[in-house]
Symmetry: D2
Subunit: 280 residues, 4 copies
């Protein structure tokens, strides 16, 4: 008896004529249903991106193989049977972004398992333990950056995971650390990037007298605050806001934007395209 399965097919390759036809033919020949389908061609970089949800009775490895045989050589092809991804959360001392993810997780709303929380401060320990999630306090005081990261890496080695989510982790990661997890670290920056790069964006925003503040979720790359942007949002402020008011108001945007970006990533809706993203 046949089984009905569902898969997300993600293709990222050099653009060439006939791709949609050839890919659709693979699905058609296997009698698959196309539930949803989105494509994009970056003409400047000549790259083709496609995310298709198919249902039917199939063998995901066989589909992947068939797709590889029709796609350009460089093609990055994934046939994903949806299941919760594993994530590691890193934080410092603020609870809003972390707490929002914990609540969504407790609620069953987040298609992910939280493996553990790692923090360089210990004040969030109570909150995390309320949710029965392992909490690792790895203090950074008196340690060289690389030494501290070495200790974080040691903890990470004990876990299998798909993504690291920096939920207001306030330390800069070295290129060395980032190189361990390319395209797998998400961060929330507390400004509307590229405005207010660097330290204390709310103070910068206050000094500049802006009328809108924002937050930016992005993948982490070597260049601080320069990684591919996944999601951004803003809220209005006015002359009555000092920088602490902006910071307070900004928290809601930060957590919403990070959770939205995380949700997109967990649903395999985000492609990295150079220093940009394609979000389907």
């Amino acid at each position: 008896m046949s089984e009905v399965k569902r898969a997300r097919v993600l293709i990222d390759c050099v653009d060439e004529k006939g791709l949609v036809y050839k890919i659709a033919k693979v699905f058609y020949d296997r009698d698959l249903n196309i539930d949803s389908n989105r494509e994009f061609v970056d003409k400047e970089r000549r790259r083709f991106f496609m995310r298709t949800v198919v249902t039917g009775d199939f063998d995901e490895n066989e589909i992947a193989k068939a797709l590889r045989s029709v796609a350009p050589k460089d093609a990055h092809i994934r046939v994903i049977i949806p299941k919760p991804k594993k994530i590691i959360l890193m934080a410092t001392k603020e609870s809003h972004a972390l707490g929002d993810i914990l609540i969504r997780h407790a609620d069953g709303e987040l298609p992910a398992d939280i493996a553990c929380v790692i923090a360089n401060r210990d004040n969030l320990s109570d909150l995390v333990k309320r949710f029965d999630i392992p909490f690792h306090h790895i203090p950074a005081e008196g340690l060289e950056r690389s030494k501290h990261e070495q200790k974080v890496l040691e903890v990470l080695e004990d876990y299998t995971f798909d993504y690291i989510v920096l939920a207001k982790y306030m330390r800069i990661l070295t290129p060395d650390f980032v190189a361990h997890y390319p395209g797998r670290i998400l961060n929330i920056h507390h400004s509307f990037l590229p405005a207010f790069i660097g330290a204390n964006p709310y103070k910068q925003a206050y000094e500049r007298g802006v009328k809108i503040i924002g937050a930016t979720a992005h993948f982490v790359t070597d260049d601080l605050d320069e990684g591919p942007i996944i999601a951004q949002d803003v809220i209005p402020v006015n002359h009555r806001y000092d920088w602490r008011d902006m910071q307070r108001a900004g928290r809601d945007v930060e957590k919403t934007v990070l959770s939205r970006a995380l949700d997109l990533v967990l649903h395999d809706r985000v492609f990295i395209n150079g220093n940009k993203t394609i979000v389907f």
Copy 2:
């Protein structure tokens, strides 16, 4: 020597397995490039919608015929070579929505020719004539609704046009009138529909004490304010706004939303799907 043309292909039909493949094959067999492609399946209504921009050396009638041979019987198929559409503007006395369209048109930004403006008041005559566009004043005073519409229809008969745009035309059209131009009349309603249906929405909004007001661009159907919504937007208000302040503030949203909806329609990006729209 071959010529490179560009066409928008729009398909709207019952959903069935293999559609994407069969359609892509039509393009592939003719060696066409797919510039962009968007699809949507309404699972509830079991309808398939697709908008593809293709480039290459082709005969649009031949493509349409080929598509019809692979698509379900009921399929509504259009192969459109982009060119300015013809529109008629109807207004009453407010100039903001009308003026925004006139400026865009004068600027060459609007892919449309404005055939004429029809108004039931005459105060906009000067503005319209500044742009060298025919202005028809058809007063409604003392006339039965059907009599007035009869006069409007007589004027319309002298023109060939694709769409009628109600740019703050403050009279209700009869089902009879609407039946002449199914899916071809756009309206801007000065509220965030379905809130505040009917007369003076800003006064209603003020009375209700809302903190946000909006505007809705929609196709006109028999049911007043019930046609398929194309675009909506909102702005914040507060207790300091009386209803005239809301009205004033609302004008910017009205004109922006109408112009955005018009732009989508003129680029053949909008499908009507029952009482809803698909916007690609």
Copy 3:
């Protein structure tokens, strides 16, 4: 030795000439600093509203008395020394709005003590207990509405509190219940009121094909969904959203709007003015 205190002074009365002067004189005569000051006159209802933050060495009762001596007879005058208010949360089964308040509370961000959570379902019990807050499960099955409310009232009698916050409490309260706590019950409605009053607003929104959905925080009055609106916000949706997608997307708006409204109320920034609010 003198002490520097801070008070929020709230005045709500019939408007008459000279009020600002007379009130400012009370502050001036007592050598108080005005930290911030906001006024509004509702000309239609001829009412005056003022919220002033004063600092200095004062006796709040003496100030209130002095203000009463200069204000119109009907004046409602409050001189409030800021301290955490006591709140009761009521919920049904969804955790997002409740969870957001719990996290803010745990974080010390909420100027309130949560006395307890009351729910007509029991699935939120675990979450609430994680935060060491009393949880009362009062099932409604098989009970007349008044009987169920009677049981709720009995629990409420054991607590002293300032506000009841309905964090997605999905039952309608009787006028009888509401009459116990006039102007003291906040609710989050999962639509951009007055659109989609009543049951399952997301389904209604989906059926109508709107391009924006929203949420409304309001005080509860006798008329369902008709109480004074405190805050509203919206997010864009499109044809790809079915009603469950809208519901999921709407949760972020719901919790943000409720928390924002609660924050305003806890900071004594909201006046009720008939069926509207003044928000300073």
Copy 4:
């Protein structure tokens, strides 16, 4: 017989205790009605700002004198009887921001008289003349910056005006030019400042892969793109937008933000406070 007049009273001075009382006393002693009143204290800079609308039978010079006698020495006091201000528009070749102001003006919505339009290109001449407004084409080709500005200044000398509005004037003004009209030149910058300072912000935004673009209206000071911000707004974009699409989409935000800022300035609602604004 007494006459009822209306005035906007604007006070900007060092903050000191008792200001509200002393100012309110001036109004009270003259039996004036306070229609609306807004204050703000910038604690960092220790400055007090107040905008009051009073009605009654008064002599504006006498009020100003009385206010000066109770306010600190440095106080900047204005008692303004509302009447249309005179403005000069400067543009280059884009019509959207300019056109929006022309339409509002033609509509009687703008409390201003447009004295003339000055442009360094001539393509907008037709549009401007449609509105019977003088158009001065002052080409910049082959001229040193200072020489070109000299020619502009010569034209400006023939007019009396309150503000210069740069409606997409794409040349940088020298400090010398700006010094002629301190706090009297408004500009619209086509980005969400301080992101994308300098040339072609849309190209920069595209390269950076942002998900939101914006516009900023600000007063012009010596430092390019660094003047006090009056208003900002944003719209979402996505990976399908190339930089020209962003530019096209941005036009609506640009014109809306500039017109909103202009409206605020024309209603005397904007104070300059160092490099920031207070907007009442």
